[in-house]
Symmetry: C2
Subunit: 212 residues, 2 copies
Amino acid sequence: MEAPDKSGKVDIPKKAIYRLSLYHRCLQKLHDNGVNTVSSTTLARAAGVKPAQLRKDLAYFGQFGTRGLGYPVEILSSVIRESLGREHLQPVILVGAGNLGSALLRYRGFEKEGFEVVAAFDANPEAAIARGVTIPVFPDTEIEAFVRARAVKLTILCVPAEFAQSVVNRLVGSGIQGVLNFSPITLEVPAEVTVNNVDLALELEHLSYFIR
Amino acid sequence: MEAPDKSGKVDIPKKAIYRLSLYHRCLQKLHDNGVNTVSSTTLARAAGVKPAQLRKDLAYFGQFGTRGLGYPVEILSSVIRESLGREHLQPVILVGAGNLGSALLRYRGFEKEGFEVVAAFDANPEAAIARGVTIPVFPDTEIEAFVRARAVKLTILCVPAEFAQSVVNRLVGSGIQGVLNFSPITLEVPAEVTVNNVDLALELEHLSYFIR
DNA sequence: AAGTGTGAAAAGTTTCACAGCG
DNA sequence: CGCTGTGAAACTTTTCACACTT
């Protein structure tokens, strides 16, 4: 009964999609522990949300539970995986392999969750390689060719703030559709491109408001 | 006329507080460029929000603008700074100086925004020091004594997921009130402690939903 | 008995539109 | 005239409460 929105997807709260990733991770953990079935109460506690919210979030995608019993861990996990568009391995590139960028490359957090960082780009590839980065690092002039050739859609952006907008313009022009932006700057992109900002100093500043 | 809530603060949307940090940063940039006065339209564009929202957000804290003219950059900047509790330099510690943690230490993003990371703690301080960290790195057994002695209220947490909860318990027990958590896990803390999660893999997963 | 699925109410947030001030 | 400050409307998201299923 719901009308699809302009992008062709039904109306699902944006925050629900964030939580879906959270549920997905919790389900994987349960699966690793050999759990087959989980109730909304238990899964919600693991994810740090209320049971009613979890049930409502899942209901946006269908009916997966059994009344009186709970949700089948493995099935629910695949359903979420599919809903998030994670059935296929997504190649990701990283642009700006300075201090933060090269640390993210050495950090295995992305691989653990099933993303493959296939290449990095920097104005000075040698410096990044010297920092102990093991994946290929190319000069930033090669971004466009690589993104087009490999049809890369996701990028992690760690360049200094003053270069971020011009780099993102080039990325978008080459076909990038999602940007995980670590530069403390508001990026301007076309509506069809999604930007997620991770602004570390901002997060600290936000915290400082709450510490009485 | 507004009733204060339990914590003694008036009812301000949580998201407005996030945006306040954003405005603060934009104002500093304007100030550096010698701008004295700014309209809601201009400042809102810089911050990536709508003018009406900016005005509403500022109105939660008082009346700072001049009708027909705009806002005084320097005054507004200090007012926000004060509202956020940033008048005084806040000491911050970092726990878990592994790959990601030591990168954050070398990265100067926090200092640039006026936070001083005064010490780091790790199970293996030598390894962190070998990674080129220049601020003091202590064994994690010394966390409690340090936090109490220096009255540290903010911490950046970068320990592996399996240790995060027990470390945060110790931090909270020592008086920490704000945690910037990089571990991909839901932390349980008392209500008076604020946790901000930065979950890198989750952000990527969230993006992958939006790339068609 | 246990636990999902869901309408409807409540709460929270954003946007509008315009009165009013400098 | 230009631009702020703000009530009221619109919209979004969360929570409740209970009918319903296994």
